[in-house]
Amino acid sequence: MILTQASPGSAAQVAEFSNTMTYATMLVLVVAMIAFAASFAARRTQSIDLRQREPALVGGDTVTAAPLPTGTADAGPDPDPDEPGRRAGNIALSLSWLAFTMLFVAVVARGVWAGRVPWGNMYEFSLTSALAILGVYLGVSTRRDVRWLGIFVIPLVLLTLGLAITVLYTETQQLVPALDSYWLVIHVSMAIVCGGAFLIAGTTAALYLIANRAQRPAGGPLSKLVCAVGRRLPEPERLDRLSYRIVAFAFPVWTFAIVAGAIWAESAWGRYWGWDPKETWAFITWVIFAGYLHAQSTAGWKGRKASWLAIIGLVAYIFNYFGVNLLFTGLHSYGGV
């Protein structure tokens, strides 16, 4: 995996360029976040009263099924082109694309500087993860209208980048020999993409819970806030469907990431699976998301319980990423923090 190494003089410049690009990305993201916030605040709130009265309007009619949607319900095009905040949302989305491109350049520059794939330590891993979160979000945005989601995703990307450059930053260029493998490239890239997907799915699942709660009248100050946010979100069913689609995409990838990891472990340590803390938590994450997918077809588990599973799955993933690297001494504690 060792590519050609840049000469030392220009190398420092490339590293510096990568860092500058990362900072610039953060700046663009801050602006995007403000635009997303403006767009979200301007959204029409859903009137709950109307929705709750709806069955009553139908009266004694036995019709309980939802009206037939026209067009592709799945793609969920914005029904209202005059939706307030649309312009701000579009600006925010364009800025997110710009940030994605810039961060991509930063990651590539980092790889060129190190002369290998840019995920040899936790700094680089986080940098690439931020790219993956943005990438998954933008990927979803090409198929659905998810401008309302931006205000929740961008801060998470900023947090990841902020942690990367402050706490996790390292100058190391080289890989420990155990990490120098093709399987590393496959395993880690898949795991990072899944991280991005799980994060978005977990966020939408949490938003589902909020939107669901917002269908009831607000009580205390906290629930007023929840309702204010929740009534600007799409209907809970759409949120639920979105997290399901994202998990459905990520779960097979996660399975392959684990398998690639097992193959790599075999060549490095002579066993496929050894219940090392990292492996154990990857397994736990896998099992929770398998449970999430099951819950979708289990009576009484759809909706709220399933959403909690998506959130717990995300927590397990994040714990595996930070907790296990920093707290345990396993074979995987290569963190290089």
Binding site: A65, A66, L68, P69, T70, G71, T72, A73, D74, T170, T172, Q173, Q174, V176, P177, A178, D180, S181, R241, Y244, A248, F249, F251, P252, T255, F256, V259, W264, E266, S267, A268, W269, G270, R271, Y272, G274, W275, D276, T280, W281, F283, I284, V287, I288, A290, G291, L293, H294, A295, Q296, S297, T298, A299, G300, W301, L309, A316, V324, F328, G336
Partner: protein, 499 residues
């Protein structure tokens, strides 16, 4: 929705199971079985499996780090035996962990096997009759038979399964979703079997090899050897491995000072009368016969010569020292039973030596920049003839007298009070290798590849049904989709074709 929605209640395993009212033991058994194979039980068992895996990541496990387990025992005298009784130091081999996954897999068989039957019959039966027509179905006006013909050709061209009779066309697509789901679950079972097969037919051993020494693949030569139930330990393939040289480099960059950057072991492998030179390194095991040789660890083996007071050499060899810290401060024991009196030494080897108040003699870098051997000598009876087996790493000092301490650089010698001399000649390196034979890995991988293929089909293919029903002045078109979202793309496409 314009027709009966047939999402999840069509799942035969997901019906509400009510408790039997006085059905006797058979009734109860049937009830319990139904419970076990319900989706909800599967879900709970799945989550339980995740939960049960957690303690194994928090507590040291015998299977991966038995030293850490014994340390835990000394640190938590009261608690550790209790945890041990619960199997918490071998979670993944414990009966309760096994109980969860076995129940899960029984549930899986009970769930999936009937579904395969149901699915096969549904597939054979073809698309069902149209549901009771509803007024809001879109209508296409025209000659109904012509429209039905067009619908049939269009749908067949789009690879739907179509059933046509005088009054309607019924079409269905996406059977592979359910097939994929069943393939996935059966493949999971295959994975479990592959892992089980690997466990009973596999073996592996660990051995430490110094430069210019070797070992042959037989049980007695391994420091540690584990074999599955079906393995004939006498019949494992004969071969020998010899370590010719070992190169290792450490990072000198201040940020990750001392991190290993390269290991390269040159080994001569003799198998079937043929000798080959191979390079063994981390991430690239060497295949020999039906086994693989992995590089697991490495360290230093100081070389000494011990001469009796009369000038006879009573010991000359390198001795494996075990690594104590990241900078390869290494500890070991040297025994010279042929010396008179018998001699024993405790040694500390530092490849880059330093001495400090707190740490005493220790190493500051894993590479041999300034190798020093610190020795503590004992004379007397080593206690080797007591018949009690002794570890090569421990020195029984009960019948010995301490002679003194000395630090030696390569080439130095040390004359002991009794006239004997110890020379520190230098050092060899050693590697620890794992040799393993595994038949399960391939099958496990195959099972997983099939599982992922099935899962992908199950997650991305959508099961859809369409009905085109003749009316007085044309046809009405109804659509239903099994799954989560009410996509009516197909219906709209068909409508476009008909209009």
């Amino acid at each position: 929705m314009s027709a009966t929605d047939f999402t999840t209640h069509a799942d035969p395993m997901d019906r509400q199971v009510s408790a039997p009212g006085g059905l006797g033991p058979i009734g109860w058994l049937r009830w319990m079985w139904r419970r076990l194979i319900s989706m909800r039980t599967a879900l709970v068992l799945l989550l339980l499996l995740g939960l049960a895996a957690i303690p194994g990541s928090l507590l040291p496990q015998r299977t991966s780090d038995s030293v850490a387990v014994s340390n835990y025992f000394t640190e938590h005298r009261e608690l550790a035996p209790w945890l041990d009784r619960l199997g918490l130091f071998d979670v993944y081999g414990s009966p309760w962990f096994a109980a969860i996954y076995l129940l899960l897999f029984i549930s899986l068989v009970g769930c999936v096997v009937p579904r395969i039957g149901v699915h096969y019959r549904t597939w054979r039966a073809g698309p069902p009759e149209p549901p009771r027509r509803r007024s809001d179905d879109p209508i296409v006006t025209g000659d109904s038979q012509v429209l039905l013909d067009t619908a049939e050709t269009t749908l067949r061209a789009a690879r739907w399964r179509v059933r046509r009779d005088g009054a309607h066309v019924a079409a269905e697509k996406g059977y592979l979703r359910e097939t994929g789901n069943e393939v996935f679950h059966v493949a999971l079972l295959g994975l479990l079997l592959a892992i089980g097969w690997g466990a009973v037919t596999g073996w592996h051993g660990n051995v430490v090899v110094r430069e210019n020494t070797g070992f042959s693949n037989s049980v007695s030569q391994y420091d540690q050897f584990t074999a599955g139930r079906f393995v004939d330990e006498e019949a494992i393939s004969p071969f020998t491995v010899r370590l010719d040289s070992f190169d290792v480099e450490f990072d000198r960059d201040p940020v990750q000072m001392g991190t290993p950057r390269l290991f390269d072991a040159r080994v001569s492998v003799t198998s079937d009368g043929e000798q080959n030179t191979e390079f063994l390194s981390v991430n690239s095991p060497v295949k020999v016969a039906d086994a693989k040789v992995y590089l697991i660890g490495h360290g230093y083996a100081p070389r000494l010569r011990i001469t009796d007071s009369d000038g006879t050499v009573v010991f000359e060899d390198s001795v494996v020292f075990t690594q104590e810290d990241a900078n390869y401060t290494s500890a070991g024991v040297i025994k010279a039973p042929d010396a008179t009196p018998q001699l024993g030494f405790r040694g500390l080897f530092a490849p880059t030596a330093a001495i400090s108040e707190e740490a005493g003699p220790h190493s500051t870098f894993p590479g041999p920049d300034n190798p020093v051997l610190f020795l503590s000598a004992f004379a007397g009876d080593l206690g080797l003839d007591d018949g009690v087996p002794q570890s090569v790493f421990t020195l029984d000092e009960t019948d010995m007298e301490q002679l003194g301490l000395q630090s030696l650089a390569p080439g130095d010698d040390w004359e002991l009070p009794g006239g004997q001399t110890v020379e520190f000649l230098g050092f060899d390196r050693w590697i620890s290798v794992k040799v393993g034979h595994d038949e399960g890995g391939f099958w496990a991988l195959l099972a997983i590849v099939i599982a992922v293929a099935g899962m992908t089909a199950s997650l991305f293919i959508r099961r859809r049904r369409l009905w085109v029903v003749a009316t007085d002045d044309g046809v009405s078109v109804a659509a239903v989709q099994r799954g989560r979202s009410a996509s009516v793309v197909d219906r709209d496409e068909l409508l476009r074709a008909l209009r």
